[in-house]
Amino acid sequence: MTATSVRPAGAGSEIASRPGGRRPRVAGRPRPAFAAIPFLIPALVLVGALLLVPFVSTVYQSLTRDNGFTSTFIGFENYSRLLQDPTFLQSLLNTVMWTVGTLILPVGLGLLIAVFTNSMRGGRWLRLAFVLPYAMSGAATAVIWGFILRSDGALNQAIAFLGFTPPASGWLLEWPTNTLVMILANTWQATGVTVILFLVGLQSIPPETVEAGSLDGATGMRLFWHIVLPQLRPVTIVVIGMSIANSLRVFDLIWLLTKGGPGGVSETLAVTMYRQTFIISDYGYGAAVAVVLAIIVVASSYAYLRRQLKGV
């Protein structure tokens, strides 16, 4: 849709407004404006038709009351309903817990593992333990952790073996325990990518700076704190941004482990949207949740985007 509607306007103004062109051009070549269109079409059609149109449509739908059959425009009523809905507020609280948990666990642990294994003999192999789960899907992670966390699961068995009394209801039935253990399960899966990224960052630090630091007598913690860490700043921004965005999108793990329950207590916005839309068929309300989630995702990745898109 985007490509076809833009084609004539873009092409016309192109010829009129750019006498010289920015690059040397060989005479007799088709006008660049026309020439670029066929190259852009496949990507623009795919993205436009399947992502941008649905995006706009969801934003509009959030302003309607829609049960899947009939739809009426109601303005911001869905949004004011959100603010009074205890399930939504619970979901928002869980989303904040996920975000904070992700900032501390995968990011912090990833930094430590990257720094420790970087200079360690056999670190390459030990690192594999953290990196492997990263290649696994959220669904497979949920299966493994479901097996561990069930009331007759491996964790309770281990606790009983060590002589303690395991919680009888397992780990997934009570809030905030269920949210916390799912954040841990996600940490198991998400730390790999932060390790990889921090490692890339570490390896791009010029060794001279570290040598100079140690010549000045800095060792261990001080060397790390004053010389290494400041140089990891750019990669840290990326890792934090990416981890937050990923944690806000977590769906598979929660959906398969608790279905957001019991009674919605372990939902995050990503799950609330799905349940409101596809289980309850309250399309307008589900769309409003999706819009709120999108705003949070884009806003929280702002710092990271600014860096990532430098020079665009």
Partner: protein, 270 residues
């Protein structure tokens, strides 16, 4: 030295913690489903892996899911990377007007959470009769993979010296020729990196799978696994775990074999 001892202990303890879930998964997937006592095994016992797998295979169409995902992931990642290469070429190499606008139009797709696309896609798919079809899945997976692939390709293209383009143009090469003969071969490795990355993404997706398909002969492998995982009590944990291993194996092997390419994709992000 205290620091080194602490460091090594820390890494080894955490690596062990990280490996326990995988170890438990493998060991228990090998317990014959009929012999499963109701409590997880911590030591290898029995060799029922393939029997467990065949239960998952027959009861929940795991095999069909694997075949579908192979099709979706290969075709979609291929289509996405190729469209992204063309678009990247247009934005970086060709003297396009307002490259930034084009960039954002295409890139916007990765910023937004998937949830914002779901409901309209579902309605449109039902209306256009592509709900629960291979075509529908290939289309959405291709679209969702374009933005990131585009980002990787674009980054790589900007590192090429513009003299390459100018020299070829003086020799009389048109844009298409320029793309296929000069730039495409030069960016092959970044295209491959993007392909591997997106293949893994599509393979691991659950959300589109459960939203846009329903029948076992159309749904991707993670949707099949999701159904199998609901059978923890009826099928027995060994069957579910065996299914999870087989569903994960392709991307784990791909990741180990192509770690270099994953890192280069991730590096493009940073």
């Amino acid at each position: 030295m205290v620091g080194r001892v602490f460091r090594n202990t820390f890494v080894i303890v955490f690596a062990a913690l990280w490996l326990i879930p995988i170890y438990l998964m493998v060991v228990n997937a090998f317990v014959p489903a009929a012999d499963y006592t109701g409590a997880p095994t911590w030591l290898p016992s029995g060799f029922g892996f393939f029997d467990n797998l065949s239960i998952a295979w027959n009861e929940s169409g795991l095999g069909l899911g694997l075949a579908n995902s192979l099709l979706y992931a290969t075709v979609s990642a291929g289509l996405a990377v190729f469209s992204a290469a063309l678009a990247g070429f247009a934005v970086v190499v060709m003297p396009t007007r307002r490259p930034t606008v084009w960039f954002w139009l295409i890139y916007l797709g990765t910023l937004l959470p998937l949830q914002i696309f779901l409901a309209p896609l579902f309605k449109a798919y039902v209306g256009a009769k592509v709900y629960d079809t291979s075509l529908g899945m290939i289309l959405i997976y291709s679209a969702i993979c374009v933005p990131f692939a585009f980002f990787i390709v674009r980054n790589f293209l900007t590192t090429l010296p513009p003299e390459i383009t100018e020299a070829a143009q003086l020799d009389g090469a048109g844009w298409a020729r320029l793309f296929f003969r000069i730039h495409f071969p030069l960016i092959k490795s970044s295209l491959f990196a993007a392909f591997i990355f997106q293949f893994t993404w599509v393979w691991n997706d659950l959300l589109f799978g459960i939203t846009l398909t329903t029948s076992p002969d159309r749904r991707p492998v993670m949707a099949a696994l999701a159904e199998i995982s609901a059978g923890f009590s009826s099928l027995g944990p060994p069957v579910v775990l065996a299914a999870a291993i087989v569903a994960s194996l392709p991307t784990v092997v791909l990741f180990l074999a192509c770690q270099r390419f994953f890192v280069s994709s991730l590096r493009a992000v940073g």
